[in-house]
């Protein structure tokens, strides 16, 4: 058990790195997911199709393949994802700015993959708004945009919170794969590092790593359960 204390700094920095990429990926996925969701409810068929294809593609792929294309397909297309070295942001999230692009690639993979689920979570929120609300709005003479802005979207946010939260939890867990695609020092790679290269005993390390992930996922899950129960009561 002494590993947990001796190597506390290793666990802590692994945790910190995982937290960083999850934070960035969550923001990116929320933005991209919203864009895809807008595509999916837009009245223009090709855009709708694009949204649908996007969601169906990424929802049905193993994340491993997505990671692979981000880490090796992007270079083949001639990019190092340098557009992610956002001035200012790369000071806080130092890995974003380093010359090594793999953190950025991993970020892209997580964002692309998670965005598909974010889109579906948002859409499930829109679907949770009773159809009568939109009908009432239309029969008052509100236009499509007014309908969305004043009636549907304000209500869909609350219905989206729980599914969105679940998507974020899933994403945190998915981030465990980044260590296999060139990012060094995240929580899951730390496990590997300590046991196979560091020769530390397996069980305490496993406990330490588990605690690291559970700290991120369990409270968030408990919070969502509470929101869900409150919403169920309100309903």
């Amino acid at each position: 058990m002494s590993v947990l204390i001796d190597k506390f700094d290793v666990f802590a920095s692994g945790f910190w790195l995982t937290l960083q990429i999850c934070f960035l990926a969550a923001i990116g996925a929320l933005i991209l997911g919203s864009v895809v969701a807008v595509l999916r409810i837009s009245p223009v068929p090709p855009l709708r199709a694009l949204g649908t294809v996007y969601v169906n593609t990424f929802r049905n792929l193993p994340l491993t393949i997505v990671f692979f294309f981000a880490a090796f397909g992007l270079p083949a297309l001639g990019t190092n994802a340098d557009f992610l070295r956002i001035p200012g942001l790369d000071i806080v999230f130092s890995r974003l700015g380093t010359d090594l692009p793999y953190f950025r690639f991993a970020l892209i993979a997580l964002v692309l993959y998670t965005a598909a689920f974010v889109c579906e979570a948002l859409r499930s929120g829109v679907n949770a708004v009773p159809a009568g609300q939109a009908e009432a709005a239309r029969s008052l003479g509100l236009t499509f945009i007014q309908n969305l802005r004043h009636v549907v979207l304000p209500q869909s946010w609350t219905a989206s919170i729980v599914p969105l939260g679940s998507v974020i939890i899933a994403m945190i867990k998915n981030s465990a794969l980044i260590g296999f695609f060139g990012v060094i020092g995240d929580l899951s790679q730390t496990a590997d590092q300590l046991t196979s290269a560091g020769g530390e005993p397996f069980i305490p390390v496993a406990i330490g790593i588990s605690i690291g992930y559970l700290i991120m996922t369990v409270p968030l899950g408990a919070f969502l359960d509470r929101v869900e129960r409150r919403q169920a009561v309100a309903r």
């Binding site: 009773p130 009432a136 029969s139 003479g141 236009t143």
Partner: protein
């Protein structure tokens, strides 16, 4: 009370949902200030009829004119038409995230571009009229069903519509709340509002309607003044229906 040309005219309207013939060659005209009650068994197409009038459902063939104009197909013109036809739903459909007053003023402010202050004032007056001015700042979920439905009526009235459509406005209500909503509707009828009302409340049909229309299987089977209809229904189906509804 009917004056000059009718306000709403449906001519040979047909509506299919896939293979289902929901409106079968329906013709109906509703004069200005007239109150028409639509009755009929479940699934006979009453709601659909009601919804075609403000084009919530487009029709498959036939024509509908409102105030002398055919119903516009889309865009601003359609929005404008809808703002002139108030609609009240069975399940109220109040905007759950807005207060009572905001529900009533949303249309006037966003669609009719009224000044917020003026819209609020008129909104409060309307809420007063339906008897719930004191609830203006609550949210729909905090109100009883009867109160919510009265708000829905006020919301429709706030657009100063030329006609009002009601689709079973009382059938989701607890029995002791039916009365308060019917009272508001009856007073509207007295004041000369043109109304199409789908309902099972035979009392309302008897006392407030100018005409009763009976539908079955998508067809408009009978169309008569209430006294005549209830005393002496012509078709077998209407007789049968009335016997089921009125005995208990």
């Amino acid at each position: 009370m009917t004056t000059s040309e009718p306000l709403i005219v449906l001519e040979s309207v047909n509506k299919w949902f896939g293979p289902l013939h929901v409106l079968d060659n329906v013709s109906l005209s509703v004069g200005r200030g007239e109150v028409v009650v639509v009755i009929g068994p479940s699934g006979s197409g009453k709601s659909t009829l009601c919804r075609t009038i403000n084009r919530l459902e487009p029709i498959t063939s036939g024509s509908i004119t409102f105030d002398g104009q055919p119903l516009p197909a889309e865009g601003r013109a359609l929005a404008k038409l809808r703002s002139e036809v108030g609609m009240v739903f069975q399940s109220f459909n109040l905007f759950a995230h807005k207060t009572i007053l905001e529900n009533v003023t949303l249309g006037p402010i966003k669609v009719r571009r009224e000044k917020p202050a003026a819209a609020r004032e008129r909104g409060l007056a309307l809420l007063d009229r339906v008897g719930i001015a004191n609830q203006a700042d609550k949210f729909p979920a905090q109100l009883s069903g009867g109160q919510q439905q009265r708000v829905a009526i006020a919301r429709a009235l706030a657009m100063q519509p030329k006609a009002m459509l009601f689709d079973e406005p009382t059938s989701a209500l607890d029995p002791e709340m039916v009365g308060e909503v019917l009272d508001v509707m009856t007073s509207l009828a007295r004041e000369g509002m043109t109304m199409v009302v789908v309902t099972h409340e035979m009392g309302f049909a008897r006392h407030a309607a100018n005409r009763v229309v009976f539908m079955a299987d998508g067809q408009l089977v009978e169309d008569a003044p209430p006294t005549e209809f209830f005393a002496n229904p012509r078709s077998e189906r209407a007789k049968d229906f009335l016997s089921k509804i009125l005995t208990h």
